[in-house]
Amino acid sequence: MDWGLFFQCLVNGLAIGGIYAVVASGFTLVLGTMKVFNFAQGEFYMLGAFVTFGCCEVLHLHYAIALMAALGTMALLGVVLQRIIIRYTYGGFFHTVLATIAFGTIFRQTAVITFGKTDRFISPVVKGRTMMGDIMMSNDKLLLILLGVTLIALLHYFMKLKVGKAIRAVTEDQEVAGLQGINARQIFVITMALGCGLAGISGALIAPVLGATADMGHAVFVKILLVIIIGGMGSMPGALLAAFMIGMIESFGYQIVGGYNELALLCFLLPLLFLRPGGLLGRPLAIPE
């Protein structure tokens, strides 16, 4: 493998890993704070991509507005899910799992019925390509990496703010956080909005590069699970590490083993799980009874 190809793979890996990192951060935030396994996360990502498609191609709005629209609508939908369904299934981890699956399936199937199985493409946001030595990258991919990294940095800054601290306190111990005057129910709404909004905006980020399909939510959700399991349940740094790791393995694996790409990823995962069943940076998270 020559250096040109190597850097090409590196950039692809960063792009894929960045997307996984953003979606998985939202997922792990909700999992850690609310102890809710949000199976609808993948569908929020898919809907985010379709919102972007609608804004850019149907309404002909600017991409920045589309990004905000995807973030806003998905955050709103997350709050709806929390207020209408999850709130009433507290106490049953398993019930919440099935409720989020059902909620996601409704949107997924609606998307399949309305858009079919064909891809919807969005015209490039930043036209043209950038040459770096002998490697060539589309500007959209670079934009994706840039925005992805910015988002992750923003999220970490957010977790240092007062709200972020409150979220972390609730993650640690809900009752003790309550004694400090933190309203856990309010925090749950904020967490859900943030988690689902992150899924929506990452769908909006990927839309100019890969387009939007009804099936994309399902595909990304499997990867989120891998990220969560490798990184450790409910651990944000673990999720970031694992997301970029999986992105790299996917991108380099595609060059080296071709169609056996996914298989290579799983072959890597299995021994890791036997060595560290709790994930790389995770600590055991108990299912609330």
Binding site: F37, I85, Y88, T89, G92, F93, F94, H95, T96, V97, L98, A99, I101, A102, F103, T105, I106, R108, Q109, T110, V112, I113, V222, L225, L226, I228, I229, M233, G259, Y260, E262, L263, L266, L269, L270, L273, F274, P277, G278, G279, P284, L285, A286, I287, E289
Partner: protein, 316 residues
Amino acid sequence: MIAIIFPLLILLPFIIRNDYVLHLLIFTCMYSVLGMGFSIMWKNRLISCGQAGFFAMGAYTSALLVMKAGFSFWLALPIAGLASALLALVIFSAALRAGPLIFFGMSLVSSFIVMEVLGTVEYFGGWEGLMGIPRPQAASYVFLSKTSYYYLVMVLLLLNIVVFYALYNCRIGRAWTAIGSSVRLAEAQGINVYRYRLGASVIACFFAGVIGAFYAHYQNLLVPTTFSFLLSIYVQMFALIGGLSFFIAGPIVGAGLMVFLPELLRVTEQFQPIFHSILIILIVIFLPGGLLSAPRRFPGLSPMLRSILGKGATGG
């Protein structure tokens, strides 16, 4: 109760005489077996999200043994179950050490691995599927009609029910109940929680494998994408809709309802997932104990229901 149901089950193909309804009944039986496998793990407060993977493992093992190695179906059936059980033993012995949440994630990932392996490796038929799986034969009798398959799956289902019933009512079952009510308390009683949980998941996956072998020879065609994690989720839904605290009757009622209700209401195939989802959300919010818990939740209904269902419906 049993005296009414048992002859009814045997006579059912002669009463219905409709191949499509029989086909749905066969699927109900298969789903019931998978659902009961889920609920035996749920009894230990383990949430399995990978029953589809073990189902697929059994299906492919049996199909390949019969097609490539020339085994008879009757020998391949238990071997398929053992293969699934072995896979479960390997995966879950590692996953259970890390706790129930990792078990949940690992079961999901393992079913994904199984599907991916079956799809990418050409020997297993690839993504287009494995075609031309021979039908089971007993001496010179070949299983062709839906009726014969119905009896075969009914035997498997009854075998499953008998084994699970026996397990639930012996020392092992009581240990499982103890683990289900409180892990710490069970540990304090000297129950090896890890070992009992592992045992439960291996037994569940054995039966998932056996019924997978039946599925392979019933459909004569295996496509990897049918074993996606959506099937595992359907299995969970059967158990939930019937009632999570009814370990044997729950999955059967749930599977029957999920298979027959959309057909009765003439919901087209495209809208079926939406229909199922709405049903699940309603059940989760309004009747978290499942349909069989309705008599307990709405006491006004119960005299009527009890007279219809008899005493057997309250156990489980």
